[in-house]
Point group: C7
């Protein structure tokens, strides 16, 4: 499968995971972030730039700031597109 969308430069597309989701390893996102998920799955990754090599890859579970990214509807689903530098880390 996979998305038919290629982010440009150092951008990634993230599929947000709902706040009530709890991973197998028992990870919760902070209470204060309930209304907007901060946990998501990377579904598309750009090629980076001259100055920036990409680290995350498709399928990575990532955490990102509450106000990161721009909303994007692709093939009927809601995603976020953001610069990789807005991703805090990989679960």
């Amino acid at each position: 499968m996979g998305l038919k969308f290629k982010p440009l430069a150092d951008r990634v597309v993230v599929e947000p995971v709902e706040a009530e989701t709890k991973t197998a390893s028992g990870i919760y996102i902070p209470d204060s972030a309930k209304e907007k998920p901060q946990h998501g799955k990377v579904v598309a990754v750009g090629n980076g730039t001259k100055d920036y090599d990409m680290t995350v890859k498709e399928g990575d579970q990532v955490l990102y700031g509450k106000f990161s990214g721009t909303e994007l509807k692709l093939e009927g689903k809601d995603y976020l597109i953001m610069k990789e530098s807005e991703i805090l880390g990989i679960l």
Copy 2:
């Protein structure tokens, strides 16, 4: 065919696609963007700069932020001219 206009540096000219348009693969742009299209077709591409190589090419279907670019009328039609860095990705 093709536009008789060559964007300078890292700029591209984009022909906006109307919001009601729906591509074959079923892509919609977000509801909140109805009044201004965020989806367009690249019709002219600059040569890049010392620090920036261009990625998009003529004919690419691209997504871009709601407030990206400057309006431009060329040969009687409305276009947007923007830096390639304002393009989020290629459909």
Copy 3:
């Protein structure tokens, strides 16, 4: 002929074309720009800088943003002087 003025660094001198002007290929500038031309002819070009090589040359028809450049009267005529990076592209 030519202007007896050499712009410094990455600057160009542009002779604005009146808004009512229409080129052979039928180019119009946007209605909202009526009071100030955005279309002009390059009449003098600087030598660039260590970081910037010039692209436009004398005689090029160019488009530029409505608020670009500084007004300049040379040999009795009105011109604009601007950085080449303010020029959107070549017609």
Copy 4:
């Protein structure tokens, strides 16, 4: 043991130490910082960037500014994630 979270780029995850804590070497954090700890233990370290090599390592006791970092709940515990450049030094 160890956290199942890998900070991206030049970020580190710090486990804050309560203000009433006093290390064996008698270190206190300033009175004015009572309500928010400035002393913590590094529990995860990113790989750095092209321009920045990491200095701290897991287990380091560090001091950081009162407003440094973003709160993060991982596996049921509260942490801070911050850029290494926000860490003042190693105890």
Copy 5:
């Protein structure tokens, strides 16, 4: 002759020409600049910096922005000292 003052780095000292002055080639400065000259003669030039090589030389007639430079009295006369990057071009 010459000034006994050596501008530092990428600075130049300019002797302003009064607004009513008209050069042999008929150059006028814009009406809106009457109260402050924008045309002057370069009387001293710095050695440039690591990142900037000087272009103008002593004796050059130059145009500069209305608010460019700092006033300076040297040997009883009024001058302006400015960065070369504030000079628009050479007449």
Copy 6:
């Protein structure tokens, strides 16, 4: 002896000298700075960064701006931690 604290990157820890102090060579700090010392002794020095090599060393008597640095209590005493670039010079 020495502090059990290693400043990160281009930071130094300074032990402020009280305003009424007067060195052997008769140095006074300005009157307007009475309420906050601007003179101190370097007690710990970071390793610098890729772009910045450290100049001061432990034991140096330094002057620094009135608002430089962040207060820090280490082993029961008050210090300031600051970037070396905030240090004006060595006495």
Copy 7:
């Protein structure tokens, strides 16, 4: 003789010359600067930085902007410490 103070990096220490002073070559500083001298003698020079080599040397008579530098009392006398880039030129 000389000052027992070594400015750090690209800083210089300047001994201001009173406004009523007039050098042998008849230099005056502008009237509007009467209340604060803009003319001084360099009494100590830093070693520069990786990106900046020093130009002025001890004993140079320099001009600097009215608001340049920070006041500093050393060995009972008033000085200014400033970055060399704030010095306009050498008399």
